[in-house]
Symmetry: none
Subunit: 174 residues, 2 copies
């Protein structure tokens, strides 16, 4: 699971270190790489490992070749995504288009979102982060939203429906 936020330098060669904790999540993937694409709904990049990309591929494939939504997502996600290989010290090189899309400067913020992560311009992220944290505190005042969130019951429902999942989560920690 990708968690935590950290800032990293983008050097003159457009290289940036991927947080070591993210690389640990990716151990076992067939390629020593991440998949990244400029997100269609904002000035940031979305990325993840093999599983992340396969989830998109499967969602799109399930729609079928002639589904308009599928065609849109093919272009917006699969067409926009690149596999970025790690160098020996755990860095990737960001394509110029990605840097421009996310308005990245000398530093970039990696934000863990569970099954995937986002890459932001640090100022944009700081702004968004404080907005989101304030919104989260607000949400906790609203019983309807609290109920929607589930209060930790979601996992228990999963375990109830599939007891073996509990062992899996325990072992994998992912």
């Amino acid at each position: 699971m990708f968690i935590s936020t950290s800032e990293h330098s983008v050097d003159a060669k457009n290289r940036v270190s991927v947080p070591a904790s993210y690389r640990e999540v990716l151990r076992g993937d067939p390629h020593d790489a991440i998949y990244v694409f400029p997100h269609f709904s904002g000035a940031y990049l979305e990325g993840g490992g093999e599983l992340f990309m396969q989830q998109y591929r499967a969602d799109i494939a399930r729609l079928g070749r002639y589904d308009p939504l599928g065609q849109i997502m093919e272009v917006a996600v699969l067409g926009a995504a690149k596999r970025l290989d790690f160098d020996s010290t755990g860095r990737i090189t960001l394509p110029k288009e990605f840097i421009e899309h996310a308005r990245l400067g000398k530093r970039a913020a990696f934000v863990g979102c569970g099954s995937r992560f986002e890459v932001w311009n640090v100022e944009d992220h700081a702004r968004r982060s404080s907005d989101m944290r304030e919104a989260a505190a607000q949400m906790m005042q609203d019983p309807e939203q609290v109920a929607r969130l589930g209060g930790g019951q979601s996992l228990e429902s999963l375990i109830k429906s599939s007891p073996s999942l509990a062992d899996f989560l325990n072992r994998r920690g992912s």
Copy 2:
């Protein structure tokens, strides 16, 4: 289950011992670590083990990728959380941002909250603790609140509805 409160030193390297009774709860987790994040609604840290974090992940994942509440919680919880590994004597190292957020000084208070725990500046905690005890006494005067609490019936309902889940929670001590 995380219970009881104890104070521990934060040393020059920002290390702090996690109460032994908490570590015992975490035995069996895939990593010898806790997950902690600066809470969005106050100057304290919230933490727990693998199950604690998976509950957040599952709650957020259930809302789906495009739910605004889910996005808020991704940033406020998953993006803010870090896995803090124990050293051989059961200490963790607190990141500087965490110390600043919770205004921790030379000592920190660990407060058990069942499935999770909180870390507080000792003065803030003392104040809050007496407020909460007073509030609890008040609540018991209100029949509506007393009814909501359930009077100990909740566990019996849980066991009746799903013996295997009850067994899982029992083994995990959470």
